[in-house]
Point group: C2
Chain length 478, copies 2
């Protein structure tokens, strides 16, 4: 036989992942044909011109080839603290980057992660409850797989959400319980919406086991307030839900009135010790942007020792996270100190990246404000803007008469067509809102604000011309 | 609530992974207490003193920190071909190691993998059917997940097998259909055993969808003959099975009368184009031993384009394999050429590693031959020896009266006790045969022959004393 779709797992067939879907595939085709594409579809900073941090890469180069440290000519090229850092890593972990580590990761790196959380939040933290992962995605998938017991189990996920969650839940044969984020309130979570979504799920016979929260938000760019997180923790406690806190954008907060609060800290403040918490962090985002190194961690709280054992086993089945990624995570949580030789350059590179991101978010917001029919809340954090598109109703189409599935499909086609036309006409590659989910009757696209400042400016201009023509043409057609 | 075992996915709870099980955990405890442990439980060459290949690490250090190439002092330290190799990588892939790549991996690396297969086997190969993965484990898991459609579906797996397979099949809620390898015939596959296993599974209502073959064998060290593979291909064809060919030890063949044949080559020789084939390779084994870099690939044959699309989607959900691992795979499939400056050293390091492994396999075999009650077929390949232990029957225990499950449990306890005592008394850490599966009434342990020559010699001596005492004590007890 030739293996065909009919031989494949239906859960896999049913999973959707728009961030790398047909629009991106078309963009790659156009690019191979010589077209210049502005890739705003994915949070991939170094593919869009962001330079890696010198300190990080200097250290990694020494770990990959420790022999360099025996060469005076090389030693004199590197700051002294980079050399001592590399030596201290190899002293504590003599196998370097080429050997499998413990399943949960190199012990001193897990301790450094625990220390990082302790310093960030002022709370007790246990390095045995930290698991180093290949990026945050693998950590999230481990939790989803572990917690889905029965066919009727489901996870509450935000709408809009990052499709890692919907795709993985589909793949592991669980149910998605979407809850709407409140666009009119800077995309915060809304208690009434949570309750409504939970009640509806229960009516469908679905048993919720956990809630996913992405803070700062992807695709929304929202930073959740202290009170909003507190509300979610109490909600989870009341309904016996585990919390998956996707906190990979915790360094990306631009709004001076917003601040990142971890779920762990707020639970500690509230003295809540009976809500299972899985927090995710990654070296791919923040100001490192080291996506290619696939470094990240998962921290577990309020679980029994037997549960930890099972997570360790799950990790051990595919042996361990890649070591260069583990080291990248280490250097993220344990940067050079203020009195060290590398610090000034490190700090400058860090601040340059974060302030450029802030400026680009503002440029994007101001540009969108000039376009009739597009609107955007200034992103408070993360790397994304979720832009609202006003599309006129099509003549002769009555969405009220459609089933929910029909309507989702129809509206998904409309915003996908919009994004595909945008790509064809302008070379700008964004992801349709339907790939993340949105309130029925609304349309969006997600764009990153990662490209260089001048490209963001160009993007805004092209978008304006495109949008005005697109709406004109749609009005003529309908 | 505090999350407990009762909240976890039962498929996960049911998965077993002995290679990093309780014996290893005890070994780590002993080590923390100051005991010297000889870790023979896992194929982790660089943790046991094997040095990385200079060429590989020189190149990786430049990719991590390309600035080094602008420094004359550094350039003069490195061979010219390493510098040109690094430059050519960055020219074809300017984002270096810090950006996400295409979901299936960097295109020129996939082309290099296709070229490697073409040169190895003299067969046509399509780089679009090559997916770069985080080690071979992730590739194997992708195939198992994708092909398990129904609760009644199962995979044929060898007994003994590498427990990645049994654990992942359990986790994805599939059925294991064990087939016995033929210890009396150098652990080759046996057609009658395949048929018997298949028939028994069908009687239990299990629908076989694929067969896993590990060649060279883990834990057996066997290298399959041309005719043996041909038999398996025809068997799979006859029964509509996909083949998962775990070929990660293809460079590890020591027996001068054995040769590695890939399933792809033999299928091509037989002109068979209708047996779906998934072949796995890895940068963790061979002579690179770069386990920590988690590099590998999955090559797909005889599948429809829609199936490829689904595998690409699956890969895209967790974005892409880590880039340092992708580069490691690249350097594995595209080593320095004979006329290049690095070649002599590269070749020497490669041959030293492979000939040391060959010698250590022989030392182990000769040593085991001196121990009454232990026996071993000289490993033809891979990195493992599956040593047979004669344990006297315990007085008053009649295994014939046990159910299959009771017997498995009882016999598993016996070889686990043996291995735990071995660890406690000698510091040698090996894995009980029951972790891989074995014929009822037989006992084994798996050991690597990776530790340095002198440690292998010591291991054999300690093992002799231990085994003689152990059997004496057991006889007294029973």
């Amino acid at each position: 036989m030739i293996l065909g779709r009919k031989h494949l797992n239906e859960n896999l067939l049913g999973a959707e992942y728009a961030v790398r879907g047909p629009i991106v595939i078309r963009a790659q085709e156009l690019e191979r044909g010589g077209r210049k594409i502005i890739y705003c579809n994915i949070g991939n900073p170094q593919a869009l011109g962001q330079s890696p941090l010198t300190y990080l890469r200097q250290t990694l180069s020494l770990i990959e080839h420790p022999e360099l440290m025996n060469q005076q000519a090389v030693v004199s090229l590197y700051p002294g603290d980079v050399i001592s850092r590399a030596k201290s890593i190899l002293q504590r972990h003599p196998h370097g980057s080429g050997a499998y580590t413990q399943s949960t990761g190199i012990p001193f790196i897990r301790e450094a992660v625990a220390e990082f959380i302790r310093n960030r939040d002022g709370i007790p933290t246990d390095s045995d409850q930290v698991i180093l992962t290949d990026g945050a995605s693998k950590g999230a998938q481990a939790v989803l797989l572990a917690l889905l017991r029965k066919k009727s189990d489901g996870f509450m996920i935000p709408i809009p959400q990052y499709p890692l969650y919907s795709a993985s839940i589909a793949m592991y044969n669980g149910n998605q319980i979407g809850y709407y984020l409140d666009e009119s309130n800077h995309w915060q979570l809304n208690e009434a919406a949570l309750i409504e979504s939970l009640e509806k799920a229960k009516l469908r016979g679905i048993h919720p086991v956990g809630i996913v929260v992405i803070n700062p938000g992807n695709p929304t760019g929202a930073v959740l307030s202290y009170d909003n997180i507190k509300m979610v923790v109490e909600f989870a406690r009341h309904h016996d839900l585990s919390i998956i806190a996707d906190e990979v954008y915790q360094e990306n907060v631009y709004d001076p009135d917003s601040r990142f609060y971890s779920f762990a800290k707020i639970m500690h403040d509230l003295d809540i010790t009976d809500v299972p918490l899985f927090s995710l962090h990654s070296a791919s985002k923040g100001f490192l942007g080291e996506c290619g190194h696939r470094g990240g961690y998962l921290e577990l709280r309020n679980i029994s020792p037997e549960v930890l054992t099972e997570f360790v086993k799950l990790q051990s089945i595919s042996l361990c996270a890649n070591v260069a990624g583990q080291l990248t995570t280490y250097l993220m949580v344990s940067p050079p100190e203020a009195n060290e030789e590398s610090y000034p350059l490190y700090n400058k590179e860090k601040n340059d990246i974060l302030s450029a991101l802030k400026n680009k978010a503002e440029t994007l917001k101001n540009g969108i404000d000039q376009i009739d029919g597009l609107s955007l809340d200034l992103p408070q954090g993360a790397m994304y803007a979720f832009v609202k598109i006003d599309l006129p109703a099509e003549k002769g189409v009555n969405t009220e008469k459609m089933t929910e599935a029909e309507r989702l499909k129809y509206e998904g086609q409309r915003d996908s067509s919009y994004c595909m036309s945008l790509l064809e006409q302008t070379g700008i590659c964004v992801v349709p809102g339907s790939g993340f989910g949105q309130l029925p009757g609304t349309f969006h696209f997600r764009t990153t604000f990662l490209p260089p400042q001048n490209e963001i400016e160009e993007l805004v201009l092209r978008l304006k011309t495109f949008h005005e023509n697109y709406v004109k043409k749609e009005s003529v057609l309908s």
